[in-house]
Assembly symmetry: C2
């Protein structure tokens, strides 16, 4: 571990906190310093179950974590409806912020959080782990930096996970007062993020929900599909980009990302969480075409790229945030605007999809502001 | 070769006729008996270029092929606008029919062809080769016969092929008077076919074009996307199926089929034409899920099924048609209604997509009739 690791405090002992606590322990520049829950017993139980060091401070309230001057970064995995309150409070206490996704119920709420971070000079990052995986970095390099694939024309991004009866009865993700965005917030967040990532964070021109949205009796989205459109072309026959995102608590586990561009295509089946931690793959084709007579192709199969990983992707996320915070603390750097901008664009597109669902699948236009 | 092979006559020396001529020669129960073109020179040239046996009759008109009493089956690869005339004529001359796709400009035209086949007791089949591949048979077995995958929820079907300048200037596929359906007819046909196949030939409830259609100056579709919806569920939270088809002459070669169901998913990148002739693969996952803490999956990668092939898929198609025709000729069997029904449903969905495009992306409902 580094000599002066950046110190994390976790508020809320959600299941995902276990994964992030492990990541904080694995990241070489980070230290899990404190855990706060609504009761000290819950915090103690979390420490035991996760085998935390005795040195980790355990608190029976969230406020105590925020008031601890030794905590640099607060990780906030609370239900979405509680984000704005606790995130703003954390920023005001000068805590840098790792906020679980979806970041907020809408962009107005998120803007309150981001403004609090901005005015208090603290770093903001949401918990999209896959963006920090070395595979994602490698794919970005191939997609953009080299220009190998040309212009992106079609993106299919799917995130589904089958809920069981107990999930639909009790999970916060389907409760209107806790995570009102349902599958769109929990799973669609990744699909939207993958879209923006694939288009180098350009916002789509318009967003249209497809007529397959399923809600529970509380009006929480359990499953939906949306099409996103990019008007990129200058010429009438120049192709713009079409994106389909699909998220659902009613389908078998599926986390597909497929990107087709003018010169090639790229696809992977595990873009959100890689099949295995120590290495991950993606497939692509370039210059693939049918041979004469169209009796086959000039390739036998897609190419495969294997990317080895020293850390799990969530530890890379923690490491990156700690690196930025270290720069702010030690060298007086300004917070990095990249991460809040990515979160805000993701939230903007999510809002637009929600609005299109609410408007009965009417198209909703987006503007860059 | 069989003792009394079924005899094919080809009318029109389109490029695709070369591939089908080869398939007829490869299929053990079939014989290429005659080739007719608008001029005898073209027919002779076709015979030379394709190294046809001297025994193949060469005709300087289509009518001569239809009038030859030895021809059992006519293969018709003419531009779509000519289908209804020549297909009806062939049926009236008691020729069984292998008709290139798209089968007609609309279902009204196709019905004229199918009625002519019906009333003359001849078999109809369209030229969708992939339906005859042993891989397709194997996938169907897994998808339906075993019930392994459960209910199909999401289908992505893409068929794109980048046209060059010469293509957009001269190819019949972008000419309003020849193949007015453009990319939808030429490439979308496969995507629609794959959808119907995946849903065991149930028609979607509604079809909606997405707002990304690109047409040339003649109004021919160069690229489009459509969403197809199946209202399958009896319960409010029961998931129906959503299908996205995308076809384009403006994108790099891509022929993807991805099917997500309630218990598994299946995908392949070369569903229309396999990468290689002698064997083909598809991938699937079953019972795949995230492990505890969501730090990975219970699988390392999707499963792969390899299907070996003795013949190219187009030869299986020819063989199947010849088998049915042999039964009609020798045993007085009735024509098989399966193949015309598949073609008609495909055409119906294509018409609905075209209509939705023409209506500015309004949903178009379909009924089983």
């Amino acid at each position: 571990m580094a000599e002066n690791p950046v110190r994390f405090g976790i508020i809320g002992c959600a299941k995902i906190a276990t994964k992030v606590a492990r990541a904080i322990n694995l990241a070489p520049n980070s230290l899990l310093y404190a855990v706060g829950s609504r009761s000290i017993d819950k915090a103690k139980n979390f420490a035991i179950v996760n085998g935390l060091s005795d040195a980790v401070k355990l608190y029976g309230s969230y406020d105590q974590v925020l008031d601890d001057p030794c905590v640099d970064i607060v990780y906030l995995p609370l239900p979405t409806s509680l984000h704005v309150h606790w995130a703003v409070l954390a920023a005001r206490k000068k805590k840098h912020l790792l906020l679980e996704k979806p970041t907020a119920l809408d962009v107005t709420e998120l803007d309150r959080i981001l403004e609090a971070c901005e005015s208090n000079g603290v770093q903001f990052m949401d918990g999209s782990m896959w963006l920090h995986h070395p595979r994602t970095v490698k794919m970005k390099e191939m997609l953009f930096d080299s220009g190998l694939f040309g212009q992106v024309h079609l993106i299919h991004s799917t995130s589904t996970s089958m809920g069981m009866t107990e999930f639909f009865e009790n999970n916060i993700r389907v409760k209107a007062d806790l995570d009102a965005l349902g599958a769109l917030g929990d799973l669609g967040w990744y699909c939207i993020g993958a879209t923006l990532w694939s288009k180098n964070y350009k916002l789509p021109t318009s967003v249209t929900a497809l007529p397959d949205t399923i809600k529970n009796s509380d009006g929480v989205i359990l499953s939906c599909t949306a099409s996103l459109h990019y008007d990129d072309g200058d010429q009438p026959t120049e192709k713009s980009a079409t994106v389909i995102i699909h998220c659902s608590f009613l389908s078998y586990t599926c986390t597909d990302l497929s990107i087709s561009a003018s010169k090639g295509s790229l696809h992977l089946k595990d873009f959100i969480i890689p099949f295995q931690e120590d290495s991950a793959i993606f497939n692509y084709t370039l210059d693939a075409k049918l041979v004469d007579l169209h009796i086959g192709w000039n390739i036998v199969k897609p190419e495969k790229v294997v990317v080895d990983c020293e850390l799990p992707q969530e530890a890379y996320m923690v490491q990156e945030l700690a690196r930025i915070v270290e720069g702010i603390k030690k060298s007086g750097c300004r917070p990095d605007s990249k991460w809040p901008e990515i979160s805000r664009k993701t939230q903007l597109v999510m809002d637009a999809i929600k609005q299109s669902v609410d408007l009965g699948c009417k198209p909703v236009c987006l503007t860059e502001n």
